[in-house]
Amino acid sequence: MTVAAGIGYALIALGPSLSLFVAVISKKPFLILTVLSSTLLWLISLIVLSGIWRAFLPLKSTTWWPFALLIISSVGFQEGLRVLFWKVYKRLEDTLDAFADRVGKPRLFLTDKMQIALAGGLGHGVAHAVFFCLSLLTPAFGPATFYVDRCPQMPFFLISAIIALAFVTIHTFSMVIAFNGYAEGNTTDQYFVPVVHLVAGMVVKSASA
């Protein structure tokens, strides 16, 4: 669909993350580091998962439960990683607060903490979008377009860009909600995030399978 459409799809998937980065993250170097490290962590989790599942793939099964198992295990692993991330963050927070006390500067505000969570979530989201949408976009720069039979109203690339945008949003805000939930001990919030992640994953998988 030509270069114009290719850039359009890339912007639909990653434009808001770009805006978020420019507006919020780029102001504080620490947040940039947080984004990068959470991206890296998410990619590592994908590698580990694919390593574990390699033996069982490709799943040439007509029944639904192997796919469900795949999604549940992946989401479970990533949520577990989120808890780990939280624990690491907690220790980091203590270190930073101690340092702030030593040099006489104010401690971390609530907004700072939420910004760190936002950066973490953005890292996950960007990784997802790049991995699952941007990598498919190379053919989109050529002259042809592609429609899948299951959804003939929109080109395939548009669908994948919109889904990527949705996942960026989910990941970004999940992290904020989850950190908030862990900090205040609010169980509703704590369970809300994994459930949303799981539901989104199942919906997308069932739509494309």
Binding site: P16, S19, G142, P143
Partner: protein, 624 residues
């Protein structure tokens, strides 16, 4: 009618059959290359390419350097076209068109008197090929492809979908890559394109073989020669689909079967005359094979040593002798319902054939043309891609071969009192003919059949009898990679059949044999090459007006001693980079821009929302 109009530009597809339902399959994609493959469907088709002669060009080409992209429509729906369209035309629709405009039934794209300029008589308006429309000899500035059966049904579905989904922003298009180098370089005739090296001359390698093998050590060859000539090349609108089953391959098959039958007869050295079998190529494009052969005979070149042109029968009684021989052969084959007749006296002369070249060279040559028609071609598909195996009858080929074999024996023995048992022993192997038909006229088994694979390692499976171009320097001992499959097969077959058995054990070889009288057959098959005593040679076939000098082809000026050279069109074929056809769906330009604007809007909107949220949060915190 609109279909033939130049504006709007129409791009034709032809397909041979209409009825095949195609069940689509959703392939599961596992990678980006898979996605790319499912987006772009490659269509397999046979192109019509650009050929040039001294006065201009024929055939098809993309109009410029770019690929041509056009949306696909079926012929019956292509009524008012405002933009570039790829039109899907069925053979029935095309024949209907030709019938309504030219009154033709059947489909022959060449002239009504093919190669009339080479006729040794003046009546060039006689219609040998009454079905001839001449469309092959016109130039078209748009690409044309002949589709295979599977591609046909796929494209019909695509065209139907195009009709249904008239939503204005997506359509399926065909992308034609038929960019010809002569179009790019602006060389529009043979002389300029050969000079710029954007084209190559048509030509190939003819084969001749003598029975019995000629003894090279004898300084003086004295036996008169009877020459049996057949042609092995055909032509068609589509370069790679020139089968030419009736014209001329049926003749080639008869020659090969006759050689096989005669090879089982002994005592050739005791007979008074010598048989030479000559299989020519390039005859469809200016009698290249016969003219070059005659030229080399005059030059007494190495490749035709042992043949003295004066020994080829010029005796005026030769024709009568030949007719008598044919009659006697027919009588001896009485049981098989075969009839030989003289042609109608209303014919102006011999039909288009290699003998025309021989007669133009020397009008005293005695010759006979054996055909399966009388006053005009009965082949409705002369030089058409439809002249395939279904157009010929193996029993007719066997009959012709039997007749020829026996007549040749009668002529060579020159002996009036011959035992009928001797003649009766000369029989054509019917299964050989059928096997050769399957090898040379179809894709299954095609050139990968047993008989061919016994002699050569074929480069292609599907046979095509288009003469092709001359690659490299033409020579009598060519690099076998530049000689086409059928020529190599015929060479090996004739060498094997006309060989005399050796007393000592045959030595294995891979290229040439030490003894001058021997040739290496089956050289391409690993470990199976053997030296046999045979006189079988390649003779290059290319225009007598061309000379290859230091890597470039030069067009020689017409020579008064070469009357055929002055009317020779000197056919060449343009070079090209790739030829291909693919089909994919495109989106309207407006839709692409809509997506780009959407992406930019989403980004900017997100920025504002974030800025707004940030100010709201700051305000809320300040309040605290």
């Amino acid at each position: 009618m609109k279909a033939m109009a130049v504006r709007p530009l129409l791009l034709f597809f032809f397909f041979a059959q209409v009825r095949l339902s195609f069940s689509g399959e959703l392939s599961s994609m596992e990678s980006i290359p898979d996605l790319q493959e499912s987006m772009y469907m490659v269509v397999d088709g046979y192109p019509c390419v650009r050929l040039l002669n001294l006065s201009g060009k024929i055939g098809c080409s993309n109009p410029g350097r770019e690929k041509v992209v056009a949306s696909i429509r079926r012929f019956r729906n292509a009524n008012d076209l405002t933009q570039l369209t790829a039109v899907l035309v069925s053979l029935d629709e095309l024949q209907d068109l030709l019938h309504r405009h030219f009154g033709l039934i059947g489909f022959s794209p060449t002239q009504k008197f093919p190669q009339a300029e080479f006729a040794p008589y003046p009546s060039i308006n006689y219609e040998w090929n009454s079905m001839g429309s001449g469309i092959m000899l016109k130039a078209y500035d748009f690409p044309v492809f002949l589709l295979s059966e599977s591609s046909t049904s796929m494209l019909q579905e695509v065209a139907d979908k195009n009709e249904k989904v008239m939503n204005g922003y997506t359509t399926s298009v065909a992308e034609f890559d038929l960019v010809m180098q002569t179009t790019k370089a602006g060389t529009h005739d043979s002389e300029s394109c050969l000079k710029e090296q954007t084209c190559l001359p048509l030509g190939g390698y003819s084969v001749w073989s003598s029975l019995p093998p000629i003894n090279m050590s004898l300084s003086y060859q004295s036996k008169p020669i009877i020459l049996l000539v057949a042609s092995m090349d055909s032509a068609s609108f589509f370069r790679d689909k020139s089968l030419g089953a009736d014209s001329p391959i049926s003749g080639l098959l008869s020659l090969l079967a006759a050689v096989d039958a005669l090879s089982r007869v002994d005592g050739w050295n005791d007979l008074n005359k010598q048989l030479v079998f000559l299989v020519l190529t390039g005859e469809a494009w200016g009698y290249l094979g016969s003219r070059r052969f005659l030229h080399e005979l005059d030059m007494q070149s190495d490749g035709v040593s042992g043949l003295n042109s004066s020994l080829i029968e010029m005796v005026s009684s030769a024709v009568n002798d030949a007719l008598d021989a044919l009659k006697r052969a027919q009588d001896s084959l009485k049981s098989e319902n075969i009839e030989v007749l003289s042609s109608n006296s209303s014919n102006p002369g011999i039909p288009p054939s290699s003998l025309m070249a021989f007669l133009k060279k020397n009008s005293l040559t005695s010759g006979i043309v054996l055909e399966d028609f009388d006053t005009a071609f009965t082949n409705k598909f002369y030089h058409s891609h439809l002249d395939d195996m279904a157009n010929i009858n193996s029993s007719a080929v066997v009959a012709a071969a039997s007749l020829i074999a026996r007549s040749l024996y009668i002529l060579a023995s020159d002996n009036n009192d011959m035992h009928s048992s001797v003649l009766g022993a000369i029989n054509v192997n019917t299964s050989l003919v059928e096997e050769l038909m399957g090898c040379l006229l179809s894709c299954k088994p095609g050139l990968s059949c047993e008989m061919v694979k016994n002699y050569i390692a074929p480069a292609n499976v599907c046979p095509s009898h288009y003469v092709g171009v001359v690659i490299g320097e033409p020579s009598f001992k060519p690099y076998l990679g530049y000689v086409d499959d059928v020529s190599r097969f015929v060479w090996n077959f004739l060498a094997d059949r006309t060989s005399t058995p050796k007393e000592n054990a045959s030595s294995s070889c891979s290229k040439d044999c030490t003894n001058e009288d021997e040739v290496c057959i089956r050289a391409e098959i690993n470990g199976k090459g053997v030296c046999v005593i045979s006189t079988t040679r390649y003779v290059p076939a290319y225009s007598t007006r061309l000379m290859f000098e230091s890597g470039i082809w030069n067009v020689l000026p017409p020579n008064s001693s070469d009357s055929m050279g002055s009317v020779d069109p000197v056919w060449t074929e343009s070079n090209w980079n790739t030829i291909g056809l693919r089909v994919y769906t495109i989106q309207n330009g407006a839709y692409d821009h809509f997506i780009l604007i959407g992406g930019i809007t989403v980004t900017i909107l997100a920025y504002f929302m974030i800025a707004l949220a940030r100010s709201l949060i700051t305000k809320a915190l300040k309040r605290d």
